[in-house]
Amino acid sequence: MTAIRADDLVKEYGDVRALDGLSLEIDEGEFFGLLGPNGAGKTTFINILVGLARSTTGSAEVFGHDVEDDYQQARDRIGLAPQEFNVDRFFPIHEVLEHKAGYHGIESEEAERRAAEALKTVGIYDKRDTRFDWLSGGMKRRFLLARALVTDPDLLILDEPTAGVDVELRRELWELVQRLNDDGTTVLLTTHYIEEAEQLCDTVAIMDTGRKIEVASPDDLRGRGEDTLLVTLADAPARPPTFDLDGVGRATLDGTELSVTVDDAGSRAAAVIRTLDRSGHEVVNLELRRASLEEVFVGMTRTDTDASGEVTG
């Protein structure tokens, strides 16, 4: 079943087009990453799904329920951990969770049980009587996840869930979210940490200026980037050697260190070494560096820069 379907979504704020015909499908059970620079339209897309924004045109469905016409059914399936700390500060955090569960139709006794369970899951149960404002930054992030989990959602939406948290907590949260996904929860993740998407996501969509640029697995995307062969030569040549080979691009030289860009490091390395051999260069070391998702991402979302250095794209 399709967990999320967006069809030609457009969202305009005055003259600004935050979403520009976004179409996307995410399958049930998938761990789906949404990558894009600031202003790409990721949060706008999420807000449309959860009811905090209305699309100008186009439509979106969550588990087959239109997010506007069947908003109750759609929202009942979603747990959202947003980027911003939008938490009720009047009540201790366990009560905030109980209220949230209640809004989803969960009776008070069950809501209490679930609130306790969610706080234990994210490791802040001992802070249950504290108000949100008094939690540390990391605990606040944990709490947002607990609030998303308290209604036992089929679709978990995480908008920059690890922004500003330390490495240890980030890894902890990754493990937790991965477990939930393994148990069948569909996860939609937006993040600025490319490593996060590489580690967690089955599929990644790269967005820019309100549009989807590409959808693929992190491995596929990496495969589309340029690898690099880092060759150490015995003697520094006067100028960089030239290669007339398929899939081999520019070479740059820094003393004895030669850097050659290739489309696939594994299959091109031998030909490059042979060519160097034939032209009398002795190779003393070879290192293969695969393209990172980050490089692919930057390449895909690169904006034009005018002469003054200002971004114009």
Partner: protein, 262 residues
């Protein structure tokens, strides 16, 4: 999910707990304000003012003070809760839930009306303390209890519903102050809280009839004293109709996302 199901009850409970747990912000201020009103206007000045329509001045002003406290607290509760939720964005907890928009509105309105009713009760309690000082063996009569209940329910609901509009409209805390201090309070003071319309020149008495507060103050006064400057039944019918319209507008505004959805 039904309109009055678990979701509605959860939001209603949350809204009630919000003001019940902060009595120093919600119940103590109107109690103190009304101690001052009753002491100055009821006891000190009231002794020098002749009875109006046969009622001691303190009894005459009591219904108006109840209305003033009840409606301003109902309004303030709804407008603050909505605006503060928008300001800190925690209203998103409600908006992203499967609660129908009508249930969301009704929970805010019912809780706010309840706060207005509680404050009204507190003011009656303060009045009960002061009335015996000015009238030997005096008490607060309730001549038309059904009218009193009907008017109090209607006007607190009406102002709670207005409060929702105010909370959605406000862009800053200043807006709420403007609504409460510059519109609501003058209308109430010129709504016959401290005087009978019969004491005004004909022209101003007629102009006063354009002020909706006149009908509320007189309706509640009718409930307490059995006396009113205007027709109680007509007032009640018009106010009940207006309340239904404003609640309907609230639901429409929520559905359209006015002030809350991008």
């Amino acid at each position: 999910m039904s309109a009055f199901g678990t979701g509605f009850r959860s939001l209603l409970t949350r809204e009630i707990l919000r003001f019940v747990r902060r009595p120093r912000n919600t119940f103590v201020p109107p109690a103190i304000t009304n101690v001052l009103y009753f002491a100055v206007f009821g006891v000190i000045l009231g002794d020098r003012i002749a009875a109006i329509q046969g009622y001691d001045y303190i009894l005459f002003i009591l219904p108006g003070l109840v209305v003033l406290g009840a409606v301003s607290n109902a309004f303030e509760n709804a407008s603050f809760s909505i605006f503060h939720g928008r300001w800190n964005e925690y209203i998103h907890e409600v908006l992203t839930s499967p609660l129908p928009y009508s249930s969301q509105v009704l929970a805010y309105v019912v809780a706010s009306a309840l706060r207005g009713l509680v404050v009204g009760g507190i003011i009656v309690g303060v009045g009960l303390l002061f009335v015996p000082f000015t009238i030997d063996g005096g008490s607060v009569p309730i001549r038309r209890p059904l009218y009193l209940v009907a008017f109090m329910l209607t006007i607190t609901t009406l102002f709670a519903a207005f409060g929702i509009v105010g909370g959605l409209w406000a862009e800053d805390f200043d807006y709420l102050t403007v609504l409460n201090q510059f519109i609501l309070r003058p209308l109430t003071f010129f709504g016959g809280v401290f005087y009978s319309l019969e004491t005004l020149p004909d022209f101003w008495a007629t102009v006063s009839l354009l002020n909706p507060m006149v009908y509320m103050v007189n309706g509640v006064r009718y409930g307490f004293l059995g006396y009113a400057d205007v027709n109680a039944n007509l007032s009640l019918a018009v106010l009940a109709g207006l309340t239904a319209v404003v609640v309907g507008v609230d639901i429409l505004l929520f559905r359209r996302g006015y002030g809350i959805i991008e």
